[in-house]
């Protein structure tokens, strides 16, 4: 039992903080970066590749570094801390994770090495208009004729879909179940746009668009998609934790420096109490995030699914609390795009809705309350 990082992990954190923190220390840089496509800093992305961060989760045989979830979590926390718009969660954790889990050896070496090297960006096109958060595709369909597969339907929103060099598209298989296909974006109609947190998403329209099955053709990959989503939930929670920590730091800094009525704001007890409650939310969240990250390391898919739902619920509740209070306690300045805390809150809001918000996960957990007596996090 140990919730602390070891020296190597600490060194990784320092290195990532140095690189990412330095890039976005200046909020103006974030604003100009997100002001134009692709919505993130390509040079930073290349330097992250050089540092080996993009290959962290993948097996060495596939061109990765074979690191564990704690290390990936550290990267995500540091990205969250500065609301970095880089597509780490979308490209590395989610799309890369799915290739690593389901791809054939040839596909893995063809896709993961270049992803890790920063040469090719992958994106998973899974969400469909009108859908909620499921692991299955429902309106995009795949058909096969003479061993050639084609896909039809619309995927939206697809995080970072317009910048991606390779799309992984989920689709209903002719025999039922959900498959995943490697698609050349040039063969689809891809329309990108900005998301409110400055990142990018896209609409991908497929019309008899050719695709190559990821892994064995015709195989139902719903369970693998679900597990990758759970992994992304946990890593998204790490990112949210980083954002929450920065939000609280900014808030306490503001309360001790902003003067109204001739005194600094921390003279008013109501405000200090609300900051104390933000701290409570944050520390409780840190505990659950650390735990869920460790569950990834040792958990089977069912245990991971449970931990992912729990951490998502915690992060949803706490992220909203901390985010909303950050804005309120800053007053008007927080409403401006020029000031940095708004981007943290926007990012928290994105993370809350990417893979299931608090109500969604609460409903899942509520449906299973009879399955256990007392929860025991140590198993």
């Amino acid at each position: 039992m140990d919730f602390e990082h070891d020296d190597e992990q600490q060194a990784l954190r320092d290195a990532v903080r140095g690189l990412v923190g330095e890039t976005y220390a200046d909020h103006d840089h974030r604003r100009t970066t997100t002001g134009e496509d692709p919505g993130f800093d390509e040079r930073l992305w290349a330097r992250m590749a050089e540092m080996g961060l993009l290959g962290l989760p993948f097996a060495e045989a596939d061109g990765g570094a074979g690191a564990g979830p704690v290390e990936i979590g550290i990267v995500c926390q540091e990205l969250g801390r500065v609301a970095a718009p880089e597509p780490y969660l979308a490209a590395v954790v989610t799309a890369g994770g799915l290739v690593a889990a389901c791809g054939s050896p040839a596909q893995r070496s063809e896709l993961i090495g270049p992803l890790a090297g920063g040469e090719r960006l992958l994106a998973l096109a899974h969400a469909e208009p009108g859908g909620r958060w499921t692991a299955e595709a429902s309106s995009v369909t795949a058909s096969e004729s003479d061993g050639r597969w084609t896909l039809s339907g619309t995927k939206e929103p697809v995080p970072h879909g317009a910048r991606a060099d390779v799309l992984l598209v989920s689709a209903v298989l002719p025999t039922g179940g959900t498959g995943v296909f490697v698609v050349d974006p040039a063969a689809a109609e891809v329309t990108g746009y900005a998301v409110y947190d400055g990142s990018r998403a896209a609409r991908v329209v497929l019309d008899d668009t050719p695709g190559t099955p990821l892994g064995e053709a015709g195989r139902d990959l719903t369970a693998s998609i679900a597990t990758v989503q759970d992994l992304a939930r946990v890593m998204g929670a790490n990112q949210a934790l980083g954002a929450m920590r920065s939000a609280l730091t900014a808030t306490t800094g503001y309360l001790t420096s902003r003067k109204q009525f001739g005194v600094t704001l921390n003279t008013f007890q109501d405000l200090t109490f609300r900051a104390a409650d933000m701290y409570v939310s944050l520390e409780l969240t840190q505990s659950v995030v650390d735990w869920a990250t460790m569950v990834v390391e040792q958990g089977d898919p069912a245990t991971l699914a449970d931990a992912a739902a729990r951490v998502s619920l915690q992060v949803s509740r706490a992220g909203r609390h901390v985010g909303q209070e950050t804005i309120q306690l800053h007053g008007g300045i927080a409403m401006t795009a020029e000031y940095s805390v708004g981007s943290l809150v926007a990012q928290l809001t994105v993370l809350d809705h990417l893979l299931g918000d608090g109500s969604h996960h609460l409903a899942q957990l509520a449906g299973r309350v009879d399955d256990h007596g007392m929860l025991d996090p140590l198993g």
């Binding site: 919730f3 001790t256 109490f273 900051a275 409780l284 505990s287 659950v288 957990l365 009879d370 007392m374």
Partner: protein, 384 residues
């Protein structure tokens, strides 16, 4: 980072589990699990069984019966105790005056009181609060004036929990009325059977009698029962209150209460999606609290308390209260039957739900109210 317990800690946990579930009488544990009130004899018996096995005061220095355990081991000890429904060692003895005497007591006081305190041969009460000194404890007025070899004590204490059972009371008294509030306070040990000590019951909103007023009218206390230096009482009180807060988040007991509620109210829960959602939400919050307690316990190896430990009292009391509130709601109209006896057609958990809910409102008031905890977090941790 590592989630599993080490082999040793796992074995330790097993040993605790075995002890608590086999050595403490079933009847006592069942009383706790069903949320019924324990008698004085049951509390004494449980503590003596534990003390006999060296498990009543493991956090004391080893020479006085402590075990030299890690914080994590202490966490597991406390966790297994609650899981099994074992009433924790009486806090006034084990967590409050015991550690104070080991730290500040004279050798004579240690020899005289510590073994009896660990074995609950002496039942202690805490005499800190007064009608005009609650959160602002330092404004207390009960006075002790030196007269020859003795102290003469006059004044009134209030909120004295289980004072009706107590043999002795550890008191904060004003020994220098001239000095600045905090500087004129001392700690005295007072035998409650002395002439001039009067205990008057206070009835609480749940109908029970767990607190008292204690009046002191020219009570003559031997001079050697001053703890520590004269006028050092505030330092001692802060030391004591720091210890008090460590044990105040009974996470496992709250988890157990919630798990039991799911069981006894299964029919209601099955048909009520909102109740299921409240349960799931509370379970998640308890998970976060438990993990925080573990994170704190696993970390505090270097002696410094983890900053997050202040979260435990605040959130722990809120969740204790929330679970009791849910119980009243699930009991529905049956919650009105608090006065019915055991022949009632309603289940005992239903009848007991409201008194328990009302009683637990105290959790966010005593031991440093939750507002005081927020004050501590804001000023000491956040620097506000």
């Amino acid at each position: 980072m590592r989630l599993q317990l080490s082999e040793d800690d796992r074995a330790f946990r097993e040993e605790m589990r075995r002890f608590f579930t086999t050595e403490v009488p079933e009847e006592i544990r069942q009383t706790v699990i069903e949320g019924r009130e324990l008698s004085k004899e049951q509390i004494v018996e449980a503590m003596r069984v534990m003390n006999g096995a060296g498990l009543a005061v493991p956090h004391w220095p080893e020479e006085y019966g402590g075990r030299g355990w890690s914080d994590l081991q202490r966490h597991l000890w406390y966790d297994e105790m609650q899981r099994a429904g074992v009433p924790p060692p009486l806090a006034f003895n084990a967590s409050m005056i015991g550690p104070v005497l080991t730290q500040f007591g004279t050798q004579e006081q240690k020899d005289r009181f510590l073994p009896a305190t660990a074995n609950l041969d002496i039942w202690w009460a805490q005499g800190f609060s007064e009608p005009d000194a609650g959160s602002d404890l330092a404004s207390l007025r009960t006075s002790a004036v030196r007269d020859g070899d003795e102290w003469v004590v006059n004044g009134q204490k209030t909120w004295t929990t289980l004072g009706q059972h107590a043999d002795w009371i550890f008191m904060l008294v004003r020994t220098d009325p001239e000095a600045k509030k905090q500087r004129g306070i001392s700690m005295l040990l007072i035998d409650m059977s002395l002439p001039g000590v009067e205990v008057r019951p206070i009835e609480l909103i749940d109908g029970g009698h767990e607190v008292n007023e204690v009046w002191f009218d020219d009570v003559r206390v031997p001079g050697d029962l001053l703890v520590g230096e004269l006028n050092q009482g505030w330092t001692i009180a802060k030391f004591l209150l720091g210890n008090e807060r460590v044990g105040v988040a009974p996470v496992t007991a709250t988890k157990r209460a919630l798990a039991r509620l799911k069981e006894v109210a299964a029919d209601v829960v099955a048909d009520d999606p909102l109740a299921r959602a409240r349960i799931a939400e509370l379970e998640n919050e308890l998970l976060a609290l438990e993990l925080t307690a573990l994170r704190v316990a696993a970390h505090s190896t270097d002696g410094e308390p983890h900053p997050a430990s202040s979260v435990l009292k605040l959130k722990g009391s809120e969740l204790q209260q929330a679970v009791s509130e849910l119980a009243v709601d699930l009991a529905g109209p049956g919650s009105l039957a608090s006065g019915a006896d055991d022949d009632s057609a309603l289940a005992s958990w239903q009848r007991g739900s409201t008194p328990r809910y009302l009683n637990l409102r105290k959790a966010s008031i005593y031991g440093g109210s939750n507002e005081i905890q927020r004050q501590i977090i804001a000023s000491r941790i956040l620097g506000l």
